[in-house]
């Protein structure tokens, strides 16, 4: 089928089978390799993208489901060369080590802070618990997100 989708603010089209995983279409058709695969079954969050502003696992979404909708991938998070405050905080606080989880973590944090700007640390951990990181022990990510949250307040 023909899929029309707005990705990072840009209208894109592709002719493909509607049952293909959104993850594969993003990577193979649109060359958006920042969306990663860690498990392929909705468990790790490495494939996180925002669909109409909501967090989804692109490994579980058929591309047919996003027809006519809008997506944000990690490639759309920064404003040109200027990193999003969450991205910068992840660097500053050491929230990215091997980095394979980081695109998903960054997008999920953006979603969490937009959804609940005043979320407590504990609540942030809950909101982000669909994204698994094996490297950091999560502390540096939590610290980074809290600092981005505080930055947004001030």
């Amino acid at each position: 089928m023909k899929i029309e989708v707005t990705i990072n603010g840009e209208k894109r089209q592709v002719e493909t089978a509607g049952h293909r995983r959104l993850l594969d279409v993003l990577r193979d058709e649109f060359a958006l390799f920042g969306t990663k695969e860690g498990c392929g079954e909705g468990e790790c969050g490495a494939c996180t993208v925002l669909l109409e502003g909501e967090v989804v696992n692109s490994c579980l979404i058929a591309v047919g489901q996003v027809n006519g909708k809008s997506l944000t991938t990690i490639e759309g998070m920064a404003d040109g060369q200027t990193l999003h405050v969450i991205q910068q905080a992840l660097i500053d606080f050491g929230g990215a080590q091997c980095g394979i989880c980081t695109p998903g973590v960054a997008l999920c944090a953006k979603w969490a802070l937009e959804k609940e700007p005043n979320a407590s640390k504990e609540r942030l951990r809950e909101l982000m618990s669909g994204n698994i990181c094996r490297c950091t022990g999560y502390q540096a990510i939590v610290d980074a997100v809290v600092s981005a949250q505080e930055g947004a307040d001030s």
């Binding site: 498990c39 991205q87 050491g94 022990g137």
Partner: protein
């Protein structure tokens, strides 16, 4: 000391050099790479734990029409140009089981397929049939020790060690002790669960082979390929792609995948990408060795340790891989960081018909650390001493000797790490018994104290003589060239800081080259908490030598007073590239006897203490970690944020291993091969952590730094289990807490067995 932050970046929190690429998604991991005409490879695996491979048949498939093999390449052992082995320590492990030979574990590679698409490769895998004569298997060490099924040699023992200290008979001494504490400690396999699964791409240009992928040790891959592909080093390039976590899991196994990708690419005549699916990665690749540690400790009335007797058994799996070295580290740490004149440590690693176990952060030490720190908790109770008091009384300090009779001369942070966590012990637990709000909560506190030898064992570093190059390129750029791979731990950033500081330039003047075997010298593998301490030292020395060379050149030209960057640029314009390669020279006075296992086992040790508070819900048997304070002596923090990240990540892996992470085997096959059922901790499981960096400088490390990669994995497991025992007290027997993982199911069983 120079206090200009920009010119003295060591000790500063500069953001990681690869940070931007990682947060904006542009970092290229192996699965993000492709080459024109690239095909996809997959691996056909055994479905028995032991058997003889009789035949490999291109079948008709299950579809209505016979499977079309015309666009499929199949590789079997018969296609191997060199010797059929993945060489690291020994040649026992084949790259592919050959027809007529033994399959020794489930999910062992028997054949490979490649096709233009993954879907076609998957279909081919289904149509490829293997015929096997199944044999009796020995899937546990107990079964294997009977030696009825022969897996390795005559007795299925990969390696054994005996370490003895003191002249007196251990059994007699123990019989005379006022208190003897005994226990049998068991730990399960642990999956590294790097979020990027393993993968490689290989391409050939005539006789020249290129391999790129996710790995810790490019020169290990090179060594294995020499034998397997019968290729010279000149004809082979092994290059690291950005690597999505390793933790030891990408130390030895990548050689297998590299070999497979190269064999497929050679036969197919196109580049071939081989990326593991998660279930395949969990089922087939190496994990932490399961262990059984029997431990006896005798104390006098005052709480001094009189004698220690330990028996360690590790399950090695079906092939040797690095098992002897893992066992070595396990036994060398087994007696713990405690003073005792009489110790006996026996260790055996047993071959079983399970997928091989191998390197995982900690490398044998977490298993034996768990045992001795459970012992110390029991001993303190038996002696009526506080958990701190007993450890403070017995812990090694400068001037003491370890179980290998190594005299500790300096950089011993035992007193400091203990004092650092003790400050946090002042805060009392919330009510120990909390039955308010309709729940039944029990709270407890646990302590663990441990050490970890940094670098290779004994004379390992001297033999290895790792090299690194610091160069001023022809274009005037400073480059650090080493084979130390950045697998997330931040080595590229820390080497930039070490080199920039030695050169006296800003960090952004340094480019740390991504390792490829044709671009960097062999600095040794990225393992064993050795990278910062050993390779970092070599980088420091080469950088100092390069600075002196540039300064001398500038002085000669009458250009004194010019900054090093400008002088370097001028020199590069006139002289072209200037490169200095340094080699590791171990500190004097390191003496080690490989026969008796006595002497300086490691050049120095990291020291750590961890204090954990937990709440246990009696109704659900769930453990919540309320507080985690971890003090680690690492000599010098080259980059505090980065090393703190290492400690926090290692801590959670240790806590996960203790409470949740379990690999379940049945008949030698992994049963839970998905992230849904092979769980690791999430944001919500992880505690808020307080990490305290203690800096007892190691004079021979760069700026005093010593290894930190592994020590955080060693002890938090024991601290959290000690806390759970403290919380539950009389509600369960002490031995219920001697087996990992201590899952809610296990806690539930323990509670039921008493009530």
């Amino acid at each position: 000391m120079v206090e200009n932050k920009k010119l003295f970046s060591v000790g500063q929190d500069i953001g990681r050099v690869d940070g931007v690429a990682k947060v904006n998604g542009s970092a290229q991991y192996v699965d993000d790479l492709s080459y024109p005409g690239m095909w996809h490879g997959m691996t056909k695996r055994s479905e028995v734990a032991h058997g003889v491979l009789k035949a490999i048949v291109k079948g008709a498939g299950s579809g209505e029409t016979a499977f079309d093999w015309s666009d499929i390449v199949v590789v079997t052992a018969a296609d191997i140009p060199g010797r059929n082995t993945i060489l690291l320590m020994e040649e026992d492990q084949p790259a592919l089981v050959s027809v007529g030979n033994h399959i020794r574990h489930m999910d062992e590679a028997v054949a490979l397929v490649a096709a233009p698409t993954r879907a076609r490769a998957l279909a081919a895998l289904g149509a490829l049939e293997i015929e096997v004569e199944e044999l009796a298997a020995a899937v546990t060490p107990d079964e294997a020790l009977k030696a009825e099924v022969k897996i390795y040699g005559d007795d299925n023992i990969f390696k054994s060690f005996l370490i003895e200290k003191g002249d007196e008979d251990i059994d007699t001494l123990l019989a005379s002790c006022a208190h003897v504490v005994e226990g049998t400690y068991r730990t399960g396999a642990q999956e590294q669960m790097y979020i990027e699964t393993q993968g490689m791409i290989s391409r050939w240009d005539g006789e020249n082979c290129h391999i790129i992928g996710s790995m810790q040790c490019p020169f290990y891959v090179q060594k294995a390929m020499r034998t397997l592909l019968d290729i010279t080093d000149d004809a082979l390039v092994v290059e690291q792609a950005v690597t999505g976590g390793g933790f030891g899991g990408k130390e030895e196994y990548p050689s297998m995948i590299a070999g497979h990708a190269a064999l497929l690419a050679k036969k197919a005549g196109v580049p071939v990408k081989l990326i593991y699916e998660r279930d395949e990665d969990i089922a087939a690749t190496t994990k932490r060795h399961p262990s059984v540690v029997k431990h006896r400790m005798g104390f006098d009335e005052a709480g001094n340790i009189v004698a220690i007797d330990i028996d360690v058994v590790f399950d090695g799996g079906a092939y040797l891989t690095l098992t002897p070295v893992v066992l070595s580290r396990g036994v060398l740490h087994a007696a713990g960081p405690y003073r005792c004149a009489n110790t006996r440590v026996r260790g055996r690693a047993v071959a079983t018909n399970t997928p091989p176990h191998g390197a995982f952060r900690g490398f044998g030490a977490p298993q034996t650390t768990f045992a001795y720190e459970r012992q110390m908790q029991k001993a303190a109770k038996a002696l009526g001493m506080s958990q701190f008091a007993l450890r403070e009384k017995c812990m090694l300090v400068e001037g003491d000797t370890t179980s290998t009779s190594q005299l500790l001369k300096g950089s011993v942070g035992s007193i400091e790490v203990m004092a650092a966590v003790k400050e946090h012990d002042a805060k009392a637990l919330d009510t120990r018994i909390d039955d308010s709000a309709g729940a039944s909560i029990r709270r407890g506190r646990g302590l663990a104290f441990y050490f970890h030898g940094a670098g290779f064992t004994g004379s390992g570093e001297a033999r290895l003589a790792g090299r690194a190059t610091v160069a001023l390129s022809a274009s005037g750029q400073f480059e650090v060239r080493s084979s130390s791979t950045d697998i997330g731990q931040g080595v590229r950033t820390m080497f930039s800081q070490i080199s920039a500081t030695a050169l006296g330039v800003e960090v952004d003047a340094i480019e740390v080259v991504v390792p490829a075997t044709n671009k960097v010298p062999d600095s040794g593998p990225t393992v064993a908490s050795r990278t910062t301490m050993v390779v970092g030292k070599v980088v420091h020395e080469a950088s100092v030598a390069l600075r002196e060379k540039i300064e001398a050149w500038a002085a000669d030209k009458g250009m004194q007073g010019m900054g090093l960057r400008e002088a370097g640029a001028a020199m590069a314009r006139e002289e072209g590239e200037v490169a200095i390669t340094s080699q590791y020279k171990p500190p004097e006075g390191i003496e080690w006897d490989d026969e008796t296992y006595t002497g300086s086992a490691y050049p120095c040790y990291g020291w750590a203490a961890c204090l954990i508070d937990v709440s246990v819900d009696l109704d659900t048997a769930e453990v919540t970690i309320d507080r985690c304070v971890h003090a680690v002596d690492l000599g010098k923090a080259i980059n505090p944020t980065i090393v703190k990240g290492q400690i926090e990540g290692g801590t959670l892996q240790s806590l996960g291993w203790a409470l949740w992470e379990e690999v379940i085997y049945k008949g030698g096959k992994v049963q839970n091969d998905r992230m849904t059922n092979c769980i690791i901790p999430t944001f919500s499981d992880a505690p808020e952590m307080t990490t305290i960096l203690v800096e007892e400088a190691f004079d021979f490390g760069p700026h005093g730094a010593k290894g930190v990669g592994e020590i955080p994995m060693d002890g938090p497991c024991a601290a959290v289990v000690n806390a759970v025992e403290d919380a539950l007290g009389e509600l369960a027997s002490a031995s219920s807490f001697d087996t990992l993982p201590l899952t809610p199911e296990a806690i539930g069983r323990a509670l039921r067995s008493v009530s």
